[in-house]
């Protein structure tokens, strides 16, 4: 169960350092809630881990594998990092059916059509496989986004406030799903949220992002830090 | 399958863009090689096509035409022929304006060819050395709007357009182009530069409306924007057929020594260095023949045949009853530069 470790990460946007000497370890096989104020840089951190943003300094390492290193001039392309990502706005491709989205992402991991159908079944979308995102409800879209993130058999699962726009009942059922899927991921599952309810339901480990740096914390939502 | 269909459509489109129409096989069953003749035509497309399709049906030779737009009649094609002198693309020039075509002969653009089919055409309508042959002629007429002008008040002479009662109420086509350029240059040939320039100045002083072309003159008279227009008889015939509120006067027919109205033959010219000289000569044979003149006379073109035994257009009086302006066509052609300079100076065009 590889850990994801960050060392001295620096990411600047429009001249402003969003992450500055950011270091921390996300333990493998565990769910880590990434907590912080709006604008703290949580989404930027996830993007940097996924390789969607190039840091100006630092290192990102997954187990023994270096994903990014400024000093060694190493920057693995996003699709080779073994990352599953559930975006804040879900980023479901509107022109592809549910099964096609999953099948496409899972192809390199040997997931065929049957595998994709089975994965959709496991998240409760078995009967909706031929629908496009626009034909799914909010909760169904969330499940599809999760299924797509898992399709590539990722080593790390990143979720950027995926439940921000669903109702409470759906949220509770998705909590259960997320606990189940994170068990399938060998490396860390990193969950960004503002919701203390989500954090309480999912956190096995907590890191706070403050001033561009990662800090360990117990239960910051109880202290009203959100 | 969709991709295959797209590939087919793409290939068809690209092929059609090249548009190298395959000439039909000759009816005489010759070697089977495609034959074509390139004709630059300042004659109106819909009239010229009658002749082209008749020729194609008769001989199987494909005619590849290039036309002028109305606003740059004849001058556009003559300019192109001059520009292509070193590397001609045209075989034949069918000019609806004799004067500009004759000017080409002076520049060595044309090659001599006296068609046997033109034997019946009077000598004054063709070059003695075969550099041009006239056929299918038009006359200049006055067209007036019957809702604005009574028949008794209609002008009877082109000279009347300089009179006060027509101030700002008459239109002429741009004298740099088409048959108006012939008409204007004919004044210079007939009267000399000084008097002709004075006449143009009097038209300008009388607020002549300069239209884009003959058909623009026809339209302006037809819808009443002007009361009178100077144009060709075939343009006037279009307005009459469309039942516009117009009537025609053939100018300068009355009086002791009437000026007469210009008679403007089309001109057929063989281009020097034509890519298809044999086909060019055969086409000219057809173009200047009685058969082609019959087509032009019977059609909406309503052009007067120069072969004496071919009947004239039905809508118009016979040619032998019309007083024609007595000018030498070569002299008219020589007066074009002087006329162009005067028009530029007087009208600012």
């Amino acid at each position: 169960m590889p850990d994801l470790s960050l060392r001295g990460l620096r990411v600047a946007r429009e001249g402003r350092a969003v992450l500055d000497d950011c270091s921390g370890v996300f333990p493998g096989g565990r769910r880590t809630v990434l907590w912080g104020l709006s604008g703290a840089g949580k989404s930027t951190l996830l993007a940097a881990i996924a390789g969607l943003v190039t840091p100006q300094a630092g290192t990102i390492q997954l187990g023994s594998e270096v994903l990014f290193s400024r000093t060694e001039t190493l920057d693995r392309p996003p699709h080779t990092r073994g990352i599953g990502f559930v975006f804040q706005d879900l980023a479901l491709w509107p022109h592809l059916t549910a099964i096609r989205q999953v099948e496409l992402v899972g192809r390199a991991a040997g997931l065929g059509r049957e595998g994709a159908a089975s994965l959709l079944e496991s998240v409760g979308l078995g009967s909706l496989a031929s629908r496009r995102p626009g034909q799914l409800s909010g909760g169904e879209q969330q499940r599809l986004a999760i299924a797509r993130a898992l399709a590539g058999k990722p080593t790390v699962l990143l979720l950027d406030e995926p439940l921000s726009s669903v109702d409470r009942t759906t949220r509770l059922s998705l909590h259960k799903l997320m606990r189940e899927v994170s068990a399938l991921v060998p490396g860390p599952t990193i969950y960004v949220t503002h919701s203390s309810e989500d954090a309480r339901a999912l956190a096995e480990n907590v890191l706070c992002l403050d001033g561009g740096r990662l800090l360990a914390s117990e239960r910051p939502w109880d202290a009203g830090e959100s | 399958m969709i991709r295959r269909a797209a590939s087919v459509v793409t290939l068809v489109c690209v092929g059609a863009c090249r548009q190298a129409p395959a000439p039909e096989a000759s009816s005489s069953g010759s070697s089977g090689a495609a034959r074509s003749v390139v004709v630059y035509s300042s004659a109106d497309k819909e009239f010229a096509e009658l002749v082209f399709s008749a020729y194609q049906q008769k001989t199987g030779v494909k005619v590849l035409p290039l036309y002028d737009t109305e606003e740059t009649k004849t001058a556009g094609l003559t300019a192109r022929l001059v520009a292509e002198k070193a590397n001609p693309k045209a075989d034949v020039f069918w000019s609806s304006d004799t004067s500009r075509a004759l000017a080409l002969a002076d520049q060595g653009i044309t090659a001599p060819y006296s068609s046997p089919e033109a034997a019946g055409i009077p000598a004054r309508y063709k070059s003695a050395t075969g550099l041009w042959t006239g056929f299918g002629a038009r006359i200049r007429v006055l067209l007036y709007n019957t809702e604005q002008v009574k028949a008794a008040d209609a002008p009877r002479s082109i000279l009347e357009l300089a009179k006060p009662q027509w101030k700002g109420r008459f239109a002429i086509a741009n004298p740099h182009f088409g048959t108006m350029s012939f008409h204007a240059a004919a004044f210079f040939a007939k009267w000399g530069d000084s008097r002709a320039t004075g006449f143009l100045e009097s038209l300008k002083a009388n607020s002549a409306v300069v239209a884009a072309g003959n058909s623009d003159v026809k339209d302006r008279v037809s819808d009443g924007r002007v009361s009178v227009g100077v144009l060709d008889e075939d343009d006037a015939a279009v307005a009459l057929r469309e039942k516009k509120p117009v009537a025609v006067v053939i100018p300068d027919q009355e009086g002791p020594d009437p000026l007469g109205t210009p008679l403007m033959p089309n001109a057929a010219l063989l281009i020097q260095g034509a890519p298809h000289p044999e086909e060019a000569r055969h086409f000219i044979d057809f173009l200047v023949s009685a058969e082609a003149e019959k087509i032009l006379a019977a059609s909406d073109a309503a052009q007067y045949p120069l072969h004496p035994d071919v009947p004239g257009p039905a809508l118009l009086p016979p040619l032998d009853g019309i007083r024609v302006m007595d000018v030498d066509y070569a002299e008219v052609a020589r007066k074009l530069p002087a006329m162009d300079a005067a028009v530029r100076a007087i009208f600012g065009l």
Binding site: P78 | C17, E46, E70, T72, G76, K218
Partner: protein, 496 residues
Amino acid sequence: MSQSRILRSSLAALPIGLVLAAAGLPIVFLLSRFGAAGMSIDAASLVQTLGFAVGGAVVATVVGGGAGMLSGALALPGGRWLLAASCVLIAAPPAFWWLGATRVTAVSWGWVSGPAGGALVAGVALSPIPILLVHAALREMPSNLYEAARAALPPVRRITYVLVPLLKAPLVGGFLLSMILLLGESEIPFLFGFRTAMTDVVTLFSQTFDVGRVIPLVMPLLLVVLGLGAMSASPLLRSVLASTRGANGVVRCPAPVFLTVLLAAPAAAAFFSLGGYVLAVLPALERGWPGARLQLSAVLASVAEPVVCAWSTVVIVVAAAYSVRSSAAMRWCLRAGLLLFCIPGAIHGIGWIGISQAIGGLDIPPGVAHASRLIGLPLLGFAIAYSRMPRSLEDAARLVPISPVRRAFVLILPLLAPSLVAAAALVAALVFADRDVPSTLMVPGASRLMLDLYLVSANAPSARVGAAALVVLAGASLTLALAAAGPLLLLWRRRA
């Protein structure tokens, strides 16, 4: 590291840079000939030209802007259909609509004459440009902006002090674009009998076929058009590239039915003109089709040339600009493309003829002149669509382990397809409708339906003109459908 990044960015921008440079060759040629020969400018007819262009642009902006505001801000019965019908006007040049209207002989058209008449007709014909820009801006605007005005101000004040200022960019952009297009218009001035710089250029070039002699006339027009194009780039790009994700558009409120009549005005003009052609044909139908002599080769070429131009410009742009789609270079490319588009097709054609004469008389196909002018349109369509695409969609695509080419075709380009379809259709429409380029660059024996219509309209009976116009309309419809079908293929397999 940053040097290699600069090098990588420069290399990425090289393909689109080369494409735009190639498209700009005729203009560079004309400018260099002007500079080298030390010629003077002949601007004799520039004032009248500007008067015509400004007048027409004012008409287009008032008519189009008004219609756009009506359709974007009000819930009018049949509003969407009327909006779509208004856009028919852009499918053909202003002269086409005028020729159709004048077939209606019951109306006396004598009062519509001179530069004022020409500006009125051309302005109405170009009104779809401001209509579309204004309507799109209203649909993109955050709803609460106008809702706040509705809560606080009566109608006239809220339109004057809130709505119109909010629509400043599309209105200014629409005005400038209409003006630029009118500067390049020659057929309306010919028909209405007044001189403009463009008619001087076309006339003199036809008289002489000498590029050198026509350059003093081209220069003032070219400089004015380039200046206006540069001025219009900012408002146009601001209108069309505005990224307002999350905005729902102005909430349409119910309105009196009579306003529908105002919205219907541009569409009515189009259908009046078409009706003129139909009325001209009907009486002659009892004797059979009034026989515009249709040549299959002319029909095929008239349809194929615009379609091939549309598809090839879209493919070239996508291939060349994809690598710079999110870089700062894209804005500069857009400006260059817009400038090329602003220059009239006839000037592109003359420039290409000059180049061909300079290199020994090589035949340049009309499609090359069309493409050099219109390459900016697919570029703009590509940029608009990409700017509106949520970035997370591309981020998600980057995580998929497939090749970059497959990623582009399967995941990104289908999202841009609607905009590419619109761009392809617009390129095809403009190529189909053009008269100046074919009349200068076509080889003997070739013809185009639109040019044939102009040639026939000179002296043919109305019935024949009407028949030719209806054939042109059918050809245009087929052309647009085929042109749009190309980029639509991007979506076809993906939806399987």
